[in-house]
Symmetry: C2
C-alpha cells in the first residue's frame, strides 16, 4: 500500500443521495490500487487517525472542494470540431456538419489525435468518466480506447452502427457492423477500465435488421451497454414514424428490438409521452438530459420533473458537439435554466448528485465510481471556488453549502477545475 | 494630435449594418481627443498611408480581431452580489435577494466599491458602454458616475424611482424622487461621458403619480434617457393589471404617463402582443433582450423575429444580476439558443452588429460610438480568437469570417478579451 492524503473541504454523496460534506476533511487513497481508502474529518484528534496518517504525505488545499470526478453520460468524441456549428436543427445539422466531419475518422491517426485532444478537454473540465459515441469506423473506436487506456480513465465507448440515411462512406452493413462490434467488445470490454456500448446511432440510420443485430449483441454480451438517441427533435420523430409505421412510438422501435434495459442510455427524450415514460421506468432504461445541446439545436425543453414522477432513471450530459461546452458545471447552469422554464427548481445538491453518483448509478457503475466510499476507484477533482474575481467575490458572500454549490454551477467553468485525479493519479493540473 | 496605430484584423459595422472587415488593418486613433481617426488596409502601399504612419508607433497583434467596444443596454450595478441566486422567478427573486441587497447601497462607500468592481467586470468583458440601474439611493448613483468618470467610460445610469411594493427602507416618495432625479441630471447628464436615464423600476413599484413625474422629468430634460422593465414575467404582468385596471396593457401604463419614445429602453418584453409591438414601433421605443436572465428566471422565450416583423428597435443585454454573465459573448450564445427554440437563426453578423453599432443605435449614441467611423470615440476591444485550447482548435478549422465569429460567440467568454480601450486609452489588459 502507498497511501496518499488530500486535505481540503470534501463533498460527495452517499447511496441515499444525501450529501456528506467535510469542511476540513482528508481523503485517503491507495495510489497502488488506485482506490479510495476513506474520508475522515481532519479535526478528528484520535490516536487512531494519527496512526493512519503517520508518515503519509498530505497535500493540503485552501478554498477548494474535493469532489468525485464528474460523469458525462452522452458525448461524441468525433464531434470536437463540430461544436458551435451555425444555424441548423438536428437533421440538417447532422447532414451538413456532423457526417462530413465523421468521415475523417477513417484515418486512425486523425482519430487518435482527436481522441487525445478530447480526453484532455474532459479531464480539464473535471470529467473522468463518459459514455462516448465513436464513429462508424472500427479503427476510430480502437483509437479512442487506446487513448483512454493510456490515461487510465474509465470510459465507455462504441462503434456507431449505421446502415442507411447517411453518406455512403459512413454506412456499414448489417453483418460487418455486427462483426466489428463483437470484435471491439472482445478487445475492449473490461480491458483495464474500458467498457463497451453497443451504439446504433438512432432509428433513422439503422434498418430494423441492424437494430435486431444490436439486440442480439446485447443478449450475447451481458454487461455491455447500449447507447442511442431518442425523441430529440420533432422532424426526427416524424421521420422515425415514417420509417417504422408498424411501431407505436419512437421508443417502441427500440423496445421491439430488445434494446431497453438498465444498461441502455437514451440521449435526449425531449418529446416523450406518458406511455414512453412508463415503459422506460418498467425497464429501468435511462434518459440522458443534454441541456446545452437541446437549446443549441432548438430541440425543446426537457421535462426533468416528469422523469421523477414516473421514476425514470435520468442523468445529465454535455452532448458535445450538439452541446456547446465540455464543462459539466456549465451544463448544470443550462439544466437549471431549462428547469426554470418548466417551473421546476433544480437545486444544487440534486445537480451535483446527478453529475457524480447519480450519473454513476444510471451507468450501473455506482459500485466502482461516483463517491468516496471505501474501495471505490479514486477519480476525483479539486475544485477551485475562486477561479475568477467574480466567483471570489460571490463565494465570499455565500453563507451555506447550497449557496456555494449553486454559485459554482452558475458561474463556474473549466477554470474552476484546479486538478483532476484518475485512479489516484494526477492527470491534470491547471 | 498624438496618433497611435493598432494593426490587427479589424471588424466593425457600417451605418447600413454591413460588416467591414480588414484581414490586416490599421486602426488609427488620436489619443489626445480619444477619437478614431480612420481604419486603413495595412496592405495599402501608397505613399499617402506611409506618410500618415511616419513616426507613428504601431502596436501589432496576431490572431486577434479589433472590434468596437461592446454595449450592454440593461444591467444593474447593485446586483453584482445577487448574481446566481437560487430558485425563484421574478417577484420572489426581487423580494428575497435583490431588495435586501440593494438596501446596502445607502452606504456610499459600499456603493463606490461595488461600482469599481462592476466597471472592472464590464471592461474585462469588453463592455465599454452600458445602460445601468442604480438603486433608490441618490448617493449610489453619484458613486457609480464618479467611478465611471474616473475610468472615462461612456455610461448611462439612473436612480431607481420606487415608492411602493418594496421594503420601506428602499422606497422614495413622489417629490423626493423627482427632486433627486433632477439634481442627478443637473450634476451628471453630459458631464464628461456620463449620461442620465430616468429610472422608474417598473409599474409595480411606482404609483401613477410617480410615473407621471417620471414623464415630467423626461419632458423637462430633453436628451435624457428612460429605462424600465416591461412584460418580463406572467405573475408580474398580472400584478400590473391589478394595479392599473384602467390601462389596456402593461405597455399602456408607461404610454399613458408619457414614457415611450426613442430614448426609452424597455428591458425584456417577453410577453407582448401585436398591439404592443405596433405601439413600440410607432414611438420607436426599444426593447432590450436579456437572454441569460430570461432563462435564469424562467421568464420565457423572447421573440426576436417579431421585433423585426414590427420594426421595433431591439438591443441585447446581460441583465446582471438576473443574467448570469457579464460577458456579451456568452449573452449572444444564449440569445442564439433562445432564437433556435423559436425557430429563428440569429447569425453571427447580426449578433455582433447588435452588440456594437446596433445597440448604439437603440441608445441614440451611434453618432458617438458603435463603429470606427472617423471622429467617433475610440472605445475598442482586442479580441483573442485563441483564448482556450478548444477555441484555438476550432478557429484553426474555420474557413469564413462567419464561422470565426459564430465560434467566438458560442465558445468565447471573458478570456477572449485581450485588451480594452476607452477613448483611445488602455483600461484593461488580460
Amino acid at each position: 500500500m502507498a497511501i496518499k492524503a488530500f486535505r481540503s473541504s470534501i463533498l460527495h454523496f452517499k447511496e441515499d443521495a444525501q450529501a456528506e460534506y467535510f469542511d476540513d476533511g482528508i481523503l485517503l487513497v491507495d495510489s497502488e490500487t488506485g482506490t479510495v481508502q476513506e474520508v475522515v474529518d481532519a479535526k478528528d484528534q484520535s490516536s487512531e487517525l494519527a496512526a493512519k496518517l503517520d508518515g503519509v504525505e498530505i497535500t493540503a488545499y485552501e478554498n477548494k472542494i474535493i469532489m468525485p470526478g464528474f460523469i458525462d453520460t452522452h458525448i461524441h468524441y468525433p464531434q470536437v470540431d463540430v461544436i458551435a456549428s451555425y444555424g441548423e436543427q438536428l437533421l440538417d445539422w447532422l447532414n451538413n456538419y456532423t457526417f462530413p466531419t465523421e468521415l475523417q475518422f477513417k484515418d486512425p491517426e486523425f482519430a487518435r489525435e482527436t481522441a487525445d485532444f478530447f480526453l484532455n478537454e474532459l479531464i480539464k473540465n473535471g470529467t473522468t468518466t463518459a459514455l462516448v459515441f465513436g464513429t462508424v469506423f472500427k479503427e476510430s473506436v480502437d483509437a479512442f480506447f487506446e487513448a483512454s487506456a493510456k490515461l487510465n480513465t474509465r470510459m465507455i465507448c462504441g462503434k456507431v452502427m449505421m446502415n442507411r440515411n447517411a453518406p455512403d462512406g459512413l454506412c456499414d452493413d448489417v453483418q460487418s457492423s455486427f462483426d466489428d462490434t463483437q470484435t471491439l467488445i472482445d478487445t475492449w470490454h473490461g480491458t483495464g477500465r474500458q467498457l463497451y456500448a453497443v451504439t446504433p446511432r438512432f432509428a433513422i440510420t439503422s434498418t430494423g435488421e441492424q437494430l435486431e443485430k444490436a439486440g442480439e449483441l446485447m443478449k450475447n454480451n451481458p454487461g455491455v451497454y447500449m447507447q442511442t438517441h431518442l425523441s430529440e427533435n420533432k422532424a426526427e420523430i416524424a421521420f422515425v414514424k415514417e420509417l417504422f409505421p408498424e411501431r407505436s412510438s419512437y421508443l417502441d422501435v427500440y423496445d421491439h428490438y430488445g434494446l431497453l434495459g438498465p444498461r441502455s442510455v437514451f440521449a435526449h427524450g425531449v418529446h416523450l409521452d406518458e406511455t414512453d415514460f412508463k415503459r422506460l421506468s418498467e425497464t429501468q432504461s435511462s434518459i440522458s438530459f443534454c441541456p446545452t445541446s437541446n437549446l443549441f439545436l432548438g430541440s425543446g425543453l426537457f421535462d426533468l420533473e416528469a422523469t421523477k414522477t414516473f421514476n425514470v432513471p435520468v442523468s445529465v450530459a454535455t452532448d458535445v458537439g450538439g452541446g456547446t461546452s465540455f464543462s459539466m458545471l456549465q451544463t448544470l447552469n443550462e439544466a437549471y435554466k431549462i428547469c426554470q422554464l418548466k417551473d421546476y427548481s433544480l437545486d444544487a445538491r440534486q445537480a451535483f448528485y446527478m453529475m457524480t453518483l447519480g450519473n454513476a448509478k444510471t451507468l450501473q457503475l455506482d459500485d466502482k465510481i461516483g463517491n468516496f466510499e471505501s474501495g471505490k476507484e479514486a477519480d476525483f477533482v479539486v475544485v477551485d471556488l475562486e477561479s475568477t474575481p467574480l466567483m471570489q467575490r460571490k463565494q465570499s458572500k455565500c453563507k451555506t453549502l447550497d449557496e456555494v454549490l449553486f454559485s459554482l454551477m452558475m458561474l463556474g467553468d473549466d477554470r474552476a477545475i484546479s486538478e483532476t485525479y484518475v485512479a489516484a493519479k494526477q492527470v491534470y493540473k491547471k
